[in-house]
Symmetry: D2
Subunit: 401 residues, 4 copies
């Protein structure tokens, strides 16, 4: 099949047709991941960029041409129905995740769903149920917490899992951005509760809750939270928006999500956790910073310097002990076997190729991909507990197990 021949594939042998819904920021990043993965990694299946879907026919056709998708659809149900689509990759706002994902799984497709898994716990639970049913039929469902695929984060998990930190005492993570500092930044869908579910919490908080649970290897069991919306009215959108950049008109509307969320809590082991997600930190562009302290060592990381991991090994003698700046670019670091020589930096988008790699392997081997929808639900439940605590005067609120 000609289409399969020229899109993203390499090896002869079986192909894996990808159909993507949505083509804004996340769609561009996923496209780059799907186009690149087979060129860099050895894969058991050859991904083919079969079709992309969006509501505006002209725009989706242009996006297909731009990003290398063979076909364009304007109805996601049509995309799900295509024979040449094996995987439905959902890059839409959170309010449509559940409907599309469940339909796709029921239609026998594998699903990759952007984070957050859904806007509500109920939706997420329905998605997990659908994923469970689909799994019985050999279909995979994965949620797109791509930061697990930053090599430094995957390697950090190996260090924690290998006991190099000992029992954890503290996990602290901030995710700081500044694109809402300007009070005239307009009211995009990301600032509307109906579409985005929540603000910094669901967008940034979801990432850091997942990362914390992933790195620690244990769930958050309770939280205490404060949230705030500093700028409560913003200009209504003058035209179309990609969600992250846009211009506003003279009229103003009400912001219905949080600008910032702070929460503390506990892991199952008793370790203390501390989180801060905000879009109001002037000068911080993408400052996902985390630190884990254990009885044997510590780890620190900053997404703005994503090729580096800081590791303090408590086993070193005090005189020579110190945080090591590890450049996570050695051939035996996770995902690095396929890239450049040591010291040659990877970027943000590589996480999407890594995500694609891991999903393809899971599909080919019939194993459940991680993070699973259940992992996504666990994050959703933490976010729900955060919102509940924030409404209840920050009282410590258990997370539903």
């Amino acid at each position: 099949m000609a289409g399969k021949e020229h899109n993203g594939g390499r090896a002869p042998g079986r192909t894996l047709g990808i159909g993507m819904v949505g083509y804004a920021f996340m769609g561009a990043a996923h496209s780059q991941g799907w186009r690149t993965v087979g060129r860099v990694f050895d894969l058991p299946l050859r991904p083919v960029l079969a079709a992309v879907c969006g509501r505006d026919a002209g725009a989706v056709r242009a996006a297909a041409d731009r990003h290398g998708w063979a076909a364009a659809e304007t109805d996601w149900r049509a995309l799900v129905a295509r024979d040449d689509v094996d995987v439905v990759d959902i890059c839409t706002p959170g309010d449509s995740h559940a409907e599309i994902a469940i339909a796709a799984l029921e239609a026998g497709k594998h699903v990759l769903c952007e984070k957050p898994l859904a806007n509500t716990v109920a939706e997420a639970e329905a998605m997990v149920a659908a994923a469970d049913r689909a799994r019985a039929r050999g279909r995979a469902a994965m949620v797109g917490f791509n930061y697990r695929r930053v090599p430094a984060m995957a390697y950090a998990r190996e260090l924690v899992a290998g006991g190099r930190l000992g029992a954890l005492r503290h996990v602290r993570v901030t995710y700081l951005q500044d694109w809402l500092v300007d009070p005239d930044f307009p009211l995009t869908w990301r600032l509307e509760r109906a579409h985005a579910g929540s603000g910094a919490l669901g967008d940034l908080g979801a990432h850091i809750v997942d990362l914390a649970q992933y790195l620690a290897g244990e769930p958050i069991v309770g939280v205490s939270a404060l949230t705030e919306t500093f700028v409560r009215e913003r200009p209504l959108l003058a035209g179309a928006s990609s969600g992250l950049s846009a211009s506003g008109g003279a009229e103003r509307g009400t912001v219905t999500v949080d600008d910032a969320a702070l929460f503390t809590g506990r892991l199952a082991s008793g370790a203390l956790v501390s989180f801060e997600a905000t879009r109001m930190a002037a000068g911080r562009k993408n400052a996902l910073r985390l630190e884990l302290n254990g009885e044997r060592g510590s780890l620190a990381f900053d997404l703005e310097r994503l090729n580096e991991l800081s590791f303090f090994d408590g086993a070193d003698p005090a005189r020579t002990a110190g945080f090591r700046r590890i450049l996570v670019t050695e051939p035996d670091h996770p995902y690095l076997e396929a890239w450049w020589p040591p010291g040659h930096a990877l970027g943000y988008e590589h996480t999407f190729a890594h995500q694609a790699r891991d999903l393809v392997h899971a599909i080919a081997s019939g194993t459940e991909p991680v993070p699973s929808f259940a992992d996504g639900l666990r994050v959703q439940r933490v976010l729900a507990a955060v919102e509940e605590s924030a409404e209840k005067n920050a009282v410590y609120t258990p997370v539903t197990p």
Copy 2:
């Protein structure tokens, strides 16, 4: 008087006799401050290291010799009664602060009291009342939050007060140490509630609460808190201890203070605050790290690199904007007029000379020194609210105004 001639003084003219109670870590640091201040700064009064007080006669005599105090006393009441003592400098554990400070003020002495001001709000209130009465008689009372005297912090306050950050959105501060990571570190007085009042909270938390309120220029109005003691039993002390270093025996006792305290809250303006104080962060030796985000700019600081202040000026064009690493060693930076050429680093102990400078000027001019006992009480009330919130399941707890 000969003694006044040769101890720490310089200029002819009036002297200011200092009497210090306690001579461990803080006593050594204060001594260095008093010895140095008149050698570096132009002062209206000449500090004289008149007498030091401690319970063990031999040890206090040795400390007097070591640190340059003319006389030694074994009873703080005798020290307070000395004619050659104008200022009583209290460097003892928190449980004795109130009694000594109140007695000294009532005896007509000026008082410098180490932080935290006291172990309880009630004590702190009594101390403020005594300070108010003493102030009416021209006596000064100051609490030793020396980190306000790190030049970078004094300069940060100037930037905030000058409006360079605009309305504050976030203040986040961590104070991370690791000297309790080892479960065999012994049970010094710092780990006993009876002497220390609390653990990381009163020791480290007091510093960062004061710094946050100082830098922001407004009080914390409510908090939500979690505290934890990870290692609940530790070896009993085998011998004497300076509080920070010691060795333990085979028998174990119960730790009665927190190892770590996390709290979030709000400033009067509505800005969100986030604090973490811990002695269990492997590899972090003295990591007081803070960041302030305002609508016009941000500041960041790390006490382990105390000569540097990071400043993001939102007024810069986006292309050239970035956090500036300001070396706070220029002649027109606070306290720097008296030190070395630009780029020549100051250290931790300089804060005590700066503190002494400011107190001497306040005494000479008859103005109230800052931080005042009222400032110390404000910190104490925040700490009390933290403890109350921690006991009440982290519920948001207003701070008594």
Copy 3:
């Protein structure tokens, strides 16, 4: 034409056929650049990955499949002769650059040639002559100094050209790697004078000489140099090698290139320059670090943190002056209009997409691409002066203008 339809292209309209010679490390990086450029940037011509060439038929066929090239050739002359090849992209070792480039230009092709332009000045001069003749016939020739395309470097050039640094006083650049620290790293072609021309000098030194001349906007006019080969014998190669990773056998051969080269010199304006290129700096993986000091400001950069540029603006008041850490990820930074939101890191390979973008624009508009072969020759002449100086006891050696 079907082949042109599915390889790397997007827009309808004219295509630009690319033929690449060599497919090791540089070939993989160039492939990624050609595949990606049209997916990210708006281009006037659509690059098509027409054919790749290598001597081993099986290996080149596998490389074509892996990297997305439509056809494979085993003779570069055949590649040059192909009608569907408009641009010949030369990714072979330096000893073959001149022959291939000159033949390609004479055959009416545009040429992109990896750095260094050649192994000798004579070859480079012949290439410039060929490029001049080809230019008269509307053909472009460009040398692949890809680090000019790191956004931070392109932006640094804008700052220098805009006078933000004033007259330059110092340019200092080190390029430190450590893959030869191990004395058992084998004797790959990169360590043989016959193939590589020189060692750290031609490989790393060529990059930093070009960067220095590019950023300063003026040539190096003289140099004084020391070179050294610390490990003079290494294991002969046991099998094939990509040049940067390989394993060696028991027999040893002589290293005929430098391990390290140090040189100082002067720019035309009289500014002092300082360079160090080495493969023997334990722990430094790809540490291209540079600093420019001018009478009005300074710039600093480290390739291991390639999304950051440090800028000291001497126009700032001393109190608020400091090196700004600019994240070069804003939409109006060079090349960034097409990538991700602010703070989302780019990586090493992006430079190859940027290089491809600039070449395509130059070809489409008929302007001479930069860096030109003449720029490459200028670098070569500096390297030749370095070698001459090193042979003549480091005496200051003028660079042929």
Copy 4:
């Protein structure tokens, strides 16, 4: 003796009378060192600040009061002749070092002489001869390369001496300041060859040459050098000057020293060295940055962050290897047994207390202090070779052994 009782001393027992010549920047720093050393360290002799000397009677009297010296002299010969002076501490410009030092040694005094040892090799040789004669009579002579006493540097030397870096390949050091960037900075004595000997070379270059030889444990055997004076005329001084800060008048005079010096060279072992000393690096205040690369590891240091040492241990597995940021504030780091708890920063001036400590121990034990005058001469010979090479077109110039 009363005077000895109250100046800087502590322990009963023998005192050591210090007489200092010069009281500007270095004099202030040395005074702080002498005042502090006995308060912090256990010493076998008690330093007493006996007398200070300067030409202006009023100014030297004020300096004595300010810095705590018991007596003031206006003729250095009178100071040398004093019975209460055991050590003559020379803090004058380089042109007077030889005369004072030799006279003091001949008068039976111990001598501490600021760096550079002298302005010429001949003077330095005469000083070494005098030191040798004095040593035979039990008198110590030491040169004030205080940066050896930064704890991180002393610790670095231990690591190198302990073989942790293996055979050295590279030593590179820059010392960057910016106080001459302003073309209107006036013509102080530091810019006059007659007084200062040379410019950045003798002031900054002397420090880094000594540090390099100290850390490597071997001498520089040859150099190739470029020097430059960018601003050749500067305002004549309007009034008095401390050398580092001053204001100028309308008339201009000729700068007779270098603004910057670059030199490369070799250690006895064949390792390559690279140096840059400049006062024209905008934004760099005191940036003494060094890196050593050996076959087993590397070290890096920046004087602007003097409590930190970066150490790369090649023995670490590649996955966990990285430069460790060691906070050199542990009790078992050099000089740290006497200071504050871990993580509490030391500053620039502490080096002078450490220098005093080491000199007092050497005097008390009758061992030769380091760095000796012979070490100072070795530096001087390197500087002379640098000047010779710079005059001879950068030709590689051997250093007189």
